[in-house]
């Protein structure tokens, strides 16, 4: 209770002021009561006999006095009434005050209760909040920790993965390098072999040529009728296309002698000589697919 007071001095101060107020109210009410009673004090009436006029006068006087008594009576009644009314009012007021006090007290109690409840609740809330906060913090911490762990794990995994990848790459590179080296070697070998093959082919071709060029040359020369009357010093280059078997499929003068009859004789010689002698080895044909013949008489 005391702690509650200490903790809510303002509420206590209001409560004290309220009590003081009620006390003062009660004091003033007590002062008012004797004043109201004063006009009700009975004083003895003084009577006197009088003639008619006089009586009249007396009557009148008596009437006035009666009236006055009545007035006084009415006034007293009025006063009593007023007093009762005042008392009633005071009672009402008192009742109201009491009621108010009760209400106040109830309210104060309620307030206090409320406050207490609020405090409790607040406290509880606070506690709950704190708890929640702690929980949250704990959860956060857990979460953080979990996250950190996850991250660590992820990092570790990544690191592992990277390492694995690196290794894989390194392995692959090594593999590739090895493959490339192997390929290069193979290529080199192949090139060497190809070169050898080519050299052999060339050797064969040269052999074939050495064998067939004179035949070709002779066949062309046998079929070449140098035009009589052509000027000396003419020469004509003709490109001849052959198909396997040596048949001439095209003969085109690529450098004219300038003498139509001479050029024509060259074309005719090639066409007449078709088919040209060819090596039996069909692979040799590529050397004979196209042949330039340079017709250039010695004389």
């Amino acid at each position: 209770m005391w702690q509650a007071v200490r903790e809510n001095p303002r509420a206590v101060a209001y409560a004290l002021l309220m009590h003081l107020g009620l006390l003062l109210l009660l004091v003033f009410s007590l002062d008012w009561t004797p004043k109201s009673i004063k006009p009700g004090s009975n004083k003895p009436i003084q009577a006197e006999l009088v003639d008619a006029s006089k009586l009249q006068a007396i009557e009148e006087k008596k009437l006035a006095e009666q009236r006055k008594v009545e007035e006084d009576k009415r006034k007293a009644e009025e006063a009593v009434k007023q007093k009762a009314e005042a008392e009633r009012r005071q009672q009402l007021q008192q009742e109201q005050a009491r009621k108010a006090e009760v209400e106040r007290k109830q309210k104060a109690e309620q307030d206090a209760k409320k406050k207490t409840e609020a405090d409790r609740k607040k406290k509880a809330d606070l506690a709950a909040q704190q708890q929640a906060e702690e929980k949250r913090k704990a959860a956060a911490a857990t979460k953080q920790k979990a996250e950190a762990e996850r991250k660590r794990k992820a990092a570790e995994a990544a690191k592992k993965k990277a390492a694995a990848e690196k290794q894989r790459k390194a392995e692959q590179a090594a593999k590739e390098k090895a493959a490339a080296e192997a390929a290069a070697q193979r290529e080199a070998e192949q090139a060497l072999q190809a070169q050898l093959a080519e050299e052999q082919a060339q050797a064969r071709a040269e052999s074939a040529l050495s064998q067939y060029i004179p035949y070709i040359q002779q066949k062309i020369q046998r079929n070449w009728l140098r035009p009589a009357g052509s000027p000396a010093g003419l020469s004509c280059l003709i490109l001849v296309k052959l198909i396997p078997g040596g048949e001439v499929v095209d003969a085109k003068v690529v450098r004219s002698s300038g003498d139509p009859l001479f050029d024509r004789s060259v074309e005719t010689a090639v066409l007449k000589a078709s088919p040209l002698p060819m090596p039996d080895d069909a692979t040799m044909f590529k050397y004979f697919r196209e042949i330039n013949f340079n017709f250039k008489p010695d004389t």
Binding site: E206, W224, G229, E267, Y287
Partner: protein, 431 residues
Amino acid sequence: MTKIVKLLILASMFIAAHASAALTIEITQGMEGAIPIAVVPLGWRGTGAAAPENIAAIIAADLNRSGRFESLPDRDLVAHPVTAEQVKFQNWRMLNVDNLVIGQLEETTAGQYSVQFELFDVFRGKRLTGATIPAPARDLRRVAHYISDLIYETLTGERGAFNTQIAYVTSSGNSKNKSYTLLVADSDGYSPQTILTSKQPLMSPSWSPDGRQIAYVSFENKTAEIYIQEVLSGSRRKLASFKGINGAPTWSPDGRKLALTLSRDGNPEIYVMTIDGGDLRRLTNSAAIDTEPVWAPDGKSLVFTSDRGGSAQLYRVSVTGGPAQRLTFDGKYNAGADISPDGRKLAMVHGEGGRYRIAVLDLDSGLLRILTDGQLDESPSFSPNGSMIIYATGAGNREVLSAVSVDGRFSQRLSLQAGNVREPVWSPFGK
């Protein structure tokens, strides 16, 4: 043999350098010869049983005479196609014939004909040329020569000179009753036409550059005089009749002057005279005989015969005169020159060892080549395309007309005229 070895080395190098590049083979040997050609007798469509002229024979003879072609004898013709559709090239390839001529002679109306021909490259299987030419009967030989020209030009790239003429002089009769005739005939010697007949010698005919006139020497007035005569109309005029010799007229390339030999100043010298006779200029001045002038194609110089060196040799002199330059040194006798149309060759009578033959001097190289094999050949004259030379040659106890290809490979006696044939001269190209 060494050539083949070199060739092989070259070929090998080629292959080593570029295996895919075309091989090059040198061809240095080949038989020189005339190009074989088959001229199939033309198909005949007309009223007569046979064609009025054997056009194919004329063409074949023309081409043969050029020395550059050799026509297939008729008996070797495997087929007688008339139209292109009927030609089977394989047949002609088997015969090794390079070219084939076919055609048709049609009588369109009485005495009027149409000659159609086509020329083929046998090994290429390609038509090269062809034409259809209308002609009256009297012109059929000329049409044949014209076709020969077309074929020759198509195959050689050189203008043909078959459809041209020759002028020459014949003499006949014995010493008591001699007759001289100036004639003009086709280049193959056919269709001779008399230009002039005289009891006295006619000599040295020369064609004007347009082929319409002939200048010649006539002794009809007992002395040598120079005349100019229209070939077609026969009208003529005397140009030179100076004291002494008036001889050897030749027309200048521009047709405005004549070079001639005059002895009016005592000794035969070379002169140039305008054809209106208005101007006469002496070009030579020597104690020897200067004669037989001929014009260079550019008209700037003349070549003539002179014995100023002790024997007859050829000299060149500027048309403006001045010192003459000796051109021939081979042989004891070189005379009667003609200059080739390109100005690079000189044909002459070359006397050596008692024989007189036709020779050609290559002015560029200075090499002399003897073309003929006669004993007494004379008066060489170039064809207007320079591919042939016509000349007179002794045959038995008379002289006849002969033609030789300029390389000397082919010579042929032309149709035999009655009497001795002298001094043939080849006309310019026909107009």
